[in-house]
Symmetry: C2
Subunit: 316 residues, 2 copies
């Protein structure tokens, strides 16, 4: 029997979750504080599914079959009745989430997982006073999760192990790759990794060593190629004959030398932003950003298709 | 008329440069301090070229045409006579490079560029006393450059602007994407970016927040997907409706909060290495590392093929 998920907050992230769950066979209810949003969102899903089918990303299903599983809901109680999962995508403000979660908790079945898509708020801050707080987690995706599998699953101090296990199982079942954090921490895992890299990127451009475009070259024509199918640990594990221990023995000294020069933070909104913005707007004008976002989504979809084929043909 | 390059040091990196130059129509001379190496290396190039042809990476040329451009050289003076470029790939020891460059400088035509593949030694340390030091640079690739276009071009304080321009032109002509550093700096650009990210990765694993495999998931199923065709600056530029300035206004606060917790360095060779190594060897046994490196190279080749097609079909 198919399970049901309630998507609470039906904007871009809610839409992406709806697609991810529906593709995996779940019944999806779309709810939003603005009652006009779910129907509007629903209308934008069909062309996206058609693109996904084209790239082999619907697991052999046709578009109407997946569409038929998604329905708007007008009442929050109705949306949450009998569900196995609630995915909340409300604005990133603690007071909004606290109020919404206080409403959600008694409306959802006691065994349902309540999950937030927040990227910036640790779960303890909006789940502490809930009856059912032991089944509350953050599941933070990069957007859109139907193309980007990684999802951080973050417990509050009172989240039960059983809930974490259930959350991991559901995420895997719908095709995501969960990162099971052992405790909450600001930035979770992915924004911390991104932040560490961006700090160095802004510093190099601020210091005039290279351009922002050249940083992008260093990743998109360099480092990120291997990372995009191996990640950084497997990359270094394969970069010395004896594996990661050999790599650390050979090269840690070099990285240690660089560390002290990474202790200085440059203000991203300072003079470096003028440089970066001038470069970026020279490449993509502000009124062409939306079109470029479409390009990004098409490239991401083609890459996801490539990765599926490569995993099958060459191995994972 | 075709130009000639001398590859000085014909191991793995020298071989990769030989392929990159030969594919672009250059005549390639392979020289090594060990006279047996060039012929041995040459024998391993043909099957690689066949794989590249299969993935559409030889620009429509056939394997024999590219192979015919590569020849071993036994004498360094002979190897360097009349060349336009010298690519040095000697061991990463300053004294080795100093001695070798002192030999190379008088043997190469005065207008030839002398380039080192070093990843760890700034060019001032082995070019200072050379007659022709104004034409000396580092061109540091990620290996192999025939699949990974990014190359850091690093000047010594005395490298002329004309030499840097010429180096950029040659790199572009053979299909690389140069990162033109304005001055030398330890770690150059790419290892600094990699180091910043690895420091955070080792810290998260050392602190027990997630596993090394989950860090890899966060990149290979997450952050690195977008980075692999956009880089980090374009990624954030497209991640807020108003572009990079909007992104910085909205999100810098989050990253600023994380920064203080990134000031502590964990010893990569300490207890965290036991954890990482145990995980990695559980996934790939030490005696299977070479086979896994072959898998990596095949995946990288397939990815390079995908990127060429996607750039054509969807745009770059």
């Amino acid at each position: 029997m198919s399970e049901t998920v309630a998507i609470v907050g039906a904007g871009l992230i809610g839409r992406a979750w709806a697609i991810a769950f529906a593709r995996a066979g779940w019944s999806v209810r779309l709810w939003d504080a603005d009652a006009a949003v779910p129907a509007r969102t629903l209308a934008t899903i069909e062309p996206l599914l058609a693109d996904m089918a084209h790239h082999g990303l619907l697991d052999g299903q046709d578009v109407p079959a997946v569409m038929a599983r998604i329905a708007p809901a007008t009442d929050l109680g109705e949306a949450l009745a009998g569900v196995a999962w609630v995915q909340e995508n409300a604005p990133e403000r603690v007071e909004v989430k606290r109020e919404l979660w206080a409403r959600m908790d008694p409306l959802a079945p006691r065994e349902a997982i309540l999950a937030s898509s927040t990227s910036a708020i640790v779960p303890s801050r909006f789940t502490e006073h809930l009856e059912g707080r032991e089944r509350c987690v953050v599941t933070h995706p990069l957007n859109p999760p139907y193309l980007i599998p990684a999802v951080e699953v973050v417990p509050a101090p009172w989240t039960s192990k059983a809930s974490m296990d259930r959350a991991a199982g559901v995420m895997r079942a719908i095709g995501q790759s969960p990162i099971m954090m052992t405790r909450e921490l600001d930035g979770f895992v992915m924004n911390r990794m991104q932040g560490a890299l961006l700090e160095e990127a802004f510093r190099l451009v601020a210091d005039g060593l290279c351009t922002a475009e050249e940083i992008d070259i260093g990743l998109r024509e360099g480092l990120a190629l291997r990372w995009s199918f191996m990640g950084p640990f497997e990359t270094i594990d394969l970069n010395a004959p004896g594996g990661v221990r050999d790599y650390v023995t050979r090269y840690q000294g070099i990285y240690e030398t660089l560390f002290p020069s990474m202790q200085r933070r440059v203000d991203w909104a300072g003079p470096v932003l003028e440089k970066v913005e001038k470069e970026r707007r020279g490449r993509v004008a502000e009124d062409a950003l939306a079109e470029r976002q479409n390009w990004r989504d098409r490239r991401l979809m083609a890459l996801a298709g490539h990765k599926r084929r490569a995993a099958k043909d060459i191995g994972d």
